[in-house]
Symmetry: C2
Subunit: 116 residues, 2 copies
């Protein structure tokens, strides 16, 4: 049963706007298999700065996709985890990975098609 | 059988960089059910300018996802269609739509979570 894409859908637009922010789909991948600390997410995503990671995590929290957990020990431990809404994005990430496995050559870099 | 997201994958990074460019996932949706002319794509995607549509279509052509077809009649007719690689993105779009149907409230606008 194919979905109907004959017209735009505001829900789709909203989802795409969330997922298309630079780094977001990479950060979500970092969290897909369980909670991580800030530095663990940063180290998982090549090239991601502290400033942008912090910005994106705040946006994902505001969108109800990521949860920030503070463990009040010494030193304080802060973890980021997906909410149920966030974990449910697994299907999207798997679809992207499946397509990439079929179509993306490892030699193919973003630069080759004119990305910054 | 869950996919392994324990480490980053260059193919995934490349796919995400392609799909995350502003407007791209909306333009792909416009083409998912068959070829359209330039103005038809523009009218399908709210807020998309001629200049940015043209840029995005060129990128998608370079990435082998979209094909530009010129029918040399008078006036010349130009259509944009997905290639096999592009049509195979249907699974990604369907996963986004399915998630959006489950989690995105129509009242929820991108502005509400701090998007530009």
């Amino acid at each position: 049963m194919a979905m109907d894409f004959s017209a735009m859908c505001p829900r789709y637009e909203w989802a795409v706007e969330l997922l298309s922010k630079r780094w977001t789909s990479l950060i979500l991948r970092a969290l897909m298999d369980g909670p991580r600390r800030f530095t663990e997410v940063r180290d998982y995503v090549p090239g991601l700065s502290d400033r942008l990671l912090s910005e994106r995590l705040q946006e994902l929290e505001a969108a109800g996709v990521v949860e920030r957990r503070v463990y009040p020990q010494r030193p304080v431990v802060i973890e980021y985890d997906l909410t149920e809404k966030g974990r449910d994005l697994r299907g999207v990430l798997e679809a992207i990975q499946a397509w990439a496995n079929r179509w993306v050559e490892v030699e193919e870099t973003p630069h080759a098609v004119g990305f910054p």
